[in-house]
Amino acid sequence: MTVRVMVVDDHPMWRDAVESDLTRAGYEVVAVAANGREALARFAATEPDLVVLDLQIPAPDGVAVTTDIIDRRPQTRVLVLSASGEQDDVLAAVTAGATGYLVKSASREELLAAVARVADGEPVFTAGLAGLVLGEFQRRSAAEPDEPRLTDRETEVLRMVAKGMSYRAIAERLVLSHRTVQNHVQNVLRKLQMHNRVELTRYAIERGLDVDDEV
């Protein structure tokens, strides 16, 4: 089944370039939008599987759009594409539920590879984003002791991503399967996104923890 994609970017040439790349690679671009308002309206109308989203768009901005999209259809994959890589925004978008992030200067091949991975639900982290996420967990564990922490293995994998290593190189170095590395990164992303109580509770139940004392 072809993956249905929506492209959101306020720059028409960019939008067209990304759209034609995706179409040529076999994706079905079901909608394009130039601002947050259009994006949310067209998202509701077309329900795409994957959204390629620029963060700097006329209001509501990329972070707000990500939050709203994940709220409405949590299974939607969001790949954030940003020119400036504004750090707070990128971290906010990923915390809000985006599955991947790529700078716009990435080549066409890198973009298509990222879209393919995000469509599979595989997180796409840049080294810079991994560094931010490591810092965020450090900050959270200092400020809120109850927040989920990363396991030693997850931290190890995330540090390697932050040092620019590919999943394959990480798998080789840690003598793990590619799939296991991927799972570790996925868990990091899940823990990062569990920022509200409902999700925390769900997490605790999944883990078979007794939540009666806490809630």
């Binding site: 400036s84 890589g85 504004e86 750090q87 200067s105 190189a169």
Partner: protein, 384 residues
């Protein structure tokens, strides 16, 4: 809110508190006059004076609410009423009176002067009331002198504090406004920069597609795009550090300083918050990282990819520099050191050792990795 607005808001707040105090003083004065009604020569006149106090307290409570009504005339009338009631005391109670009719109620007028005209107003009102009180008495007891002295002291003190509060509020407002302006400037700059970066990235992409001379243009655009992005990152980190409060004197933000090392090929990964350390430590650490990167350029290639990762645990700072080069053969550094060539060893290991940290290098199929570790405890000791 304008600068004057903050001062007026402080004044209004203090005057509201004063209204409550005036009511307490009024209740006290009315109670005492009823209690002492036995030693009054003219009871009707005394009742008139008490009614005047009640009426004036009510009028003042209303009049002081609106800043436009707080005129000199109102304040002069406020003090005038207090002096007039003091002056009426010998006529109503006879020349050998002990307590004045208004008693402590006159403090209301004095505090209003202190709040409105600050130090000088408090002093003038305190002196006028103290002089009036002492001038009317035939005999002066020690307690009369004490009361007068307290009035003269309290007026300027309250006036000075009110002035300080207004100044602080004005300064706080100015600081908030300038922070808001800086944030707005940063936001506007971000929009412009994002547009520029988009176009550069697009030129790079299209140039690559078209090939030939266009590809060269694309490569140029790519170079500029990367330079601008790292410049923006460093300035963003600096703005964020500034907005979250200026670093302590003699301290620098390590995140900002390391971000400046980003260039084509070099990626700096760091937390999204500032890490403030003593300036000499930051300078030395950045110099050590720069030496690692210079080593990469020298031995792997001019634009060879390298990654810098900064982590800040509560107990230590760790910077890792990784490249994908073949690595340094075991014993090579020691050999160079023994030969008297201190290059890498001196600039990286020496700097870290001087800071009380360690620098270790490992190589393997994954490339070469320098790990620079600084325990926070040595940093604290050094700061002492």
């Amino acid at each position: 809110m304008s600068t004057a607005g903050a001062a007026i808001a402080v004044e209004s707040r203090l005057l509201r508190a004063l209204t409550v105090l005036r009511l307490v003083l009024l209740a006290n004065a009315v109670g005492l006059n009823i209690y002492r009604s036995g030693d009054v020569d003219h009871p009707l006149a005394a009742a008139g004076c008490v009614l005047a106090m009640v009426a004036w307290t009510g009028y003042a409570a209303w009049a002081y609410v609106d800043p436009r009504r707080r005129t000199r005339l109102l304040l002069v009338a406020d003090l005038g009423v207090a002096v007039a009631l003091l002056a009426a005391t010998p006529l109503v109670k006879g020349g050998d009176f002990d307590a004045t009719i208004p008693g402590f109620w006159i403090a209301g007028a004095m505090l209003a002067w202190a709040i409105h005209f600050r130090l000088r107003g408090g002093l003038v009102a305190g002196l006028v009331l103290a002089a009036a009180d002492l001038a009317l008495r035939q005999q002066h007891h020690a307690s009369d002198y004490n009361d007068a002295f307290l009035l003269v002291i309290a007026g300027p003190v309250v006036g000075f504090m009110c002035g300080s509060l207004q100044q602080m509020a004005t300064e706080r407002d100015a600081a908030e406004r300038s922070a808001a302006r800086a944030a707005e400037r940063a936001r506007l700059a971000r929009v412009v920069h994002d547009g520029t970066l988009q176009v550069l990235a697009l030129v790079q992409r299209r140039g690559h597609d078209l090939g030939g001379e266009a590809a060269e243009l694309g490569a140029l655009a790519a170079h500029q795009e990367q330079s601008l992005r790292s410049l923006l990152r460093a300035s963003d980190a600096a703005t964020a550090a500034e907005l979250s409060g200026a670093p302590a004197p003699g301290e620098l933000d390590l995140v900002t300083a390391l971000s400046r090392l980003e260039r084509p090929g070099v990626t700096v990964s760091a937390p999204g918050f500032a890490i403030e350390l003593p300036a000499p430590v930051v300078t030395e650490l950045v110099a050590a990282v720069d030496a690692c990167l210079a080593n990469v350029r020298c031995h792997v290639g001019q634009e060879a990819p390298a990654w810098v990762l900064l982590e800040a645990a509560p107990e230590r700072i760790e910077v890792t520099v990784r490249d994908e080069g073949p690595g340094i053969p075991a014993g090579r550094l020691e050999e160079a050191e023994a030969e008297g060539r201190l290059g890498v060893s001196g600039s990286i290991r020496g700097r870290l050792a001087d800071l009380g940290g360690t620098a270790t290098v490992t190589s393997g199929s994954y490339g070469t990795e320098w790990s620079l570790v600084l325990p926070r405890t040595t940093l604290r000791e050094e700061a002492r």
